[in-house]
Subunit: 129 residues, 2 copies
Amino acid sequence: MHRSRIAVVLLDHPAESYEAAAQFWAAAHGSPRGEKRPSDDSPYESLRDLPGGVELALQRTGPGSSPRVHLDIETDDVGAEIARLVALGAAVAEQRDGYAILTDPGGLVFCVVPVQTGADFEPHATTWP
Amino acid sequence: MHRSRIAVVLLDHPAESYEAAAQFWAAAHGSPRGEKRPSDDSPYESLRDLPGGVELALQRTGPGSSPRVHLDIETDDVGAEIARLVALGAAVAEQRDGYAILTDPGGLVFCVVPVQTGADFEPHATTWP
């Protein structure tokens, strides 16, 4: 038995348009940017909590990559959640350290990650047998 | 003065992979599909309400289009919200009847639409001068 839910909506932009896009989305949502910006260690920047504690974040992706939006599904058991989703038709594109990049049956990219949202996880997650 | 907020996270799939993707995401979220499927009149299918009444939905897009995720920003004044976002750096890609398709400074597609979420709009929207 494990639990999961959609945790983060990520706006992915390549390095060359990242700053302009981050400035835009921060202003669009009236959320001043924090001090934490994408680095070589972590390409993520948190933007705003949506209602229910779903996080809106930015990711600086590789030069030349296409801008996109992707979803992070958070779970208290990454292995079990990946197995569940693969049985439903997803494919693992890349196993990373502690999380994985998957694609849905149409090739859409999403991630399965450990719990990110702390106290917001438990009340909003779904339990799977 | 007008108000806006992120209302819908849409998973867009072309006709050829739409059914497989829709089956997958419904099962992935444990949300049985409803009777309303994409039609020639409306290419949308509602999937699930995320916490705070942000809707997760599917869109059947044109044959050969790439799968993607896009955000809908809902507002009580579509014209004013578009003007605000364009002043921040967005561009209007296409003005439709009652809503518009925009791109952010990195070319990422999103939409500005009238209020979709009924009673969930007011408590979660931001007011702009």
